[in-house]
């Protein structure tokens, strides 16, 4: 995936773990924003308010 199939050794490992870390940070920020944006409307829809 992302052309990293053969990534091994210390440099390759650092790259792979770096990708995972960056994804975690992006997801934390991105989903947090999404929750604030969509959360209240989703809750209202599930409650049948809309």
């Amino acid at each position: 995936m992302f052309g990293l199939e053969s990534a091994a050794g210390v440099d390759g490992a650092a790259l792979v773990i770096g990708v995972v870390l960056v994804e975690a940070l992006v997801l934390y920020v991105g989903y947090g924003y999404l929750e604030r944006l969509v959360g209240p409307r989703l809750v209202a829809a599930l409650r049948g308010d809309s």
């Binding site: 995936m1 490992a13 773990i17 975690a24």
Partner: protein, 346 residues
């Protein structure tokens, strides 16, 4: 159809499984990561790939959870650093042991047996306490659940007081006025690190109770310190495996994307549903997880390929069952005016 060289169906499968795992982690504060490695093994991945990818997943989820805890003052950094030292040694020994068993051709069997024992044992304990109406293992990873935690009035368990009475120098002073032997901290850290390196789990479901019951750390601090420690142990563990090329990004990336979303939904559900109402499902899910690993091994020994499929259906079905129970209970609570509690974004 492929995306980044990986079949879209596979990405969707891992993404969907991640949502289920995240829902469980977000709601119960535990139970997500130690289903991942057996699920990957059931799917036919090599043991080291399953363990390494499980560890990388644990690393990433703990980064996200730790970010939620960072401002709550629930991390004992001195204890955390000591735990990292002991855990790192344990992970390295666990990794060496796994590779040694792999060379002997025994890794899959040994890891499977340990998983069956662990999942089965914890599943029996949780089901038993849930059916008896006990609080059981109510230690949560969730920052929101711990925000109003009992940091000030946490009682030190009797067994922790007894252990702390053995004063083997050097003694370490920890948050909460606790004084405990350095050797005990390192022993607990090493043992959980061994599990992490060997099984590809964060070890939190053992380390948190160990910090509380054996060392006497208040629960909120045990949770925060445990997550802080898992960031490093999971990171180091997955890095060590990644050097050998064992971390599979086509597993970790979609699994994490789904899990991070599911964890937010699960955390939101904690405001709506009483955990004790659903805990029995969680216990049954762990028992089904143990059963799935056992079915797969029987299928291998008896050369019955269909049991591999049965095993996969059981483990995915178990996670779907409990996640579904959380979602259905949450929607029901939302629709009943009395069960609704306004939730704001964290």
């Amino acid at each position: 159809m492929e995306l980044f060289g990986v079949a879209v169906t596979l990405l969707a499968l891992f993404g969907g499984f991640g949502v289920l795992i995240g829902l469980l982690f977000g709601f119960f504060g535990m139970g997500g990561s130690f289903l991942v490695t057996p699920a990957l093994m059931v799917m036919g991945y090599e043991t080291d790939v399953a363990v390494a990818s499980g560890l990388a997943f644990v690393f990433a989820t703990s980064v996200i959870a730790t970010l939620k805890h960072r401002d709550l003052g629930q991390v004992d950094y001195k204890l955390g650093v000591l735990m990292i030292a002991g855990t790192t040694a344990g992970i390295e020994v666990g990794k060496i042991g796994l590779h040694w068993l792999q060379e002997l051709g025994l890794a899959d069997t040994v890891v499977s047996v340990i998983y069956v024992a662990l999942l089965g044992g914890i599943g029996v304990f949780i089901t038993y306490t849930a059916t008896r109406g006990g609080g059981g293992d109510g230690i949560s990873h969730d920052a929101d659940a711990e925000r109003e935690g009992d940091l000030d009035d946490a009682d030190i368990p009797d067994i922790a007081k007894k252990i702390q009475s053995y004063r083997v120098p050097p003694m370490m002073s920890l948050r909460g006025g606790i004084s405990v032997s350095l050797w005990l901290i390192l022993a607990v850290a090493f043992a959980t690190g061994l599990l992490s390196g060997f099984l590809g789990v964060g070890g939190g479901f053992i380390r948190m109770p160990a910090l509380f019951y054996l060392i006497g750390v208040p629960v909120p601090v045990a949770v925060g310190t445990d997550l802080f420690e898992i960031v490093f142990s999971g990171g180091i563990g997955s890095f060590l495996y990644a050097i050998d090329g064992a971390v599979e990004l086509s597993i970790v990336v979609p699994l994490l994307a789904g899990s991070a979303l599911g964890a937010r939904l699960g955390a939101a559900a904690t405001d709506l549903v009483d955990e004790d109402e659903i805990k029995v499902y969680f216990g049954v899910m762990l028992l089904l997880g143990a059963l799935a690993v056992a079915i797969r091994k029987v299928g291998e020994f008896a050369d019955i390929p269909v049991l591999q499929t049965v095993s996969l259906v059981v483990i995915l079905g178990a996670a779907a069952l409990v996640s579904g129970a959380v979602v259905v209970s949450s929607v029901r609570a939302l629709r009943s005016e009395t069960g609704y509690t306004a939730r704001t974004a964290d």
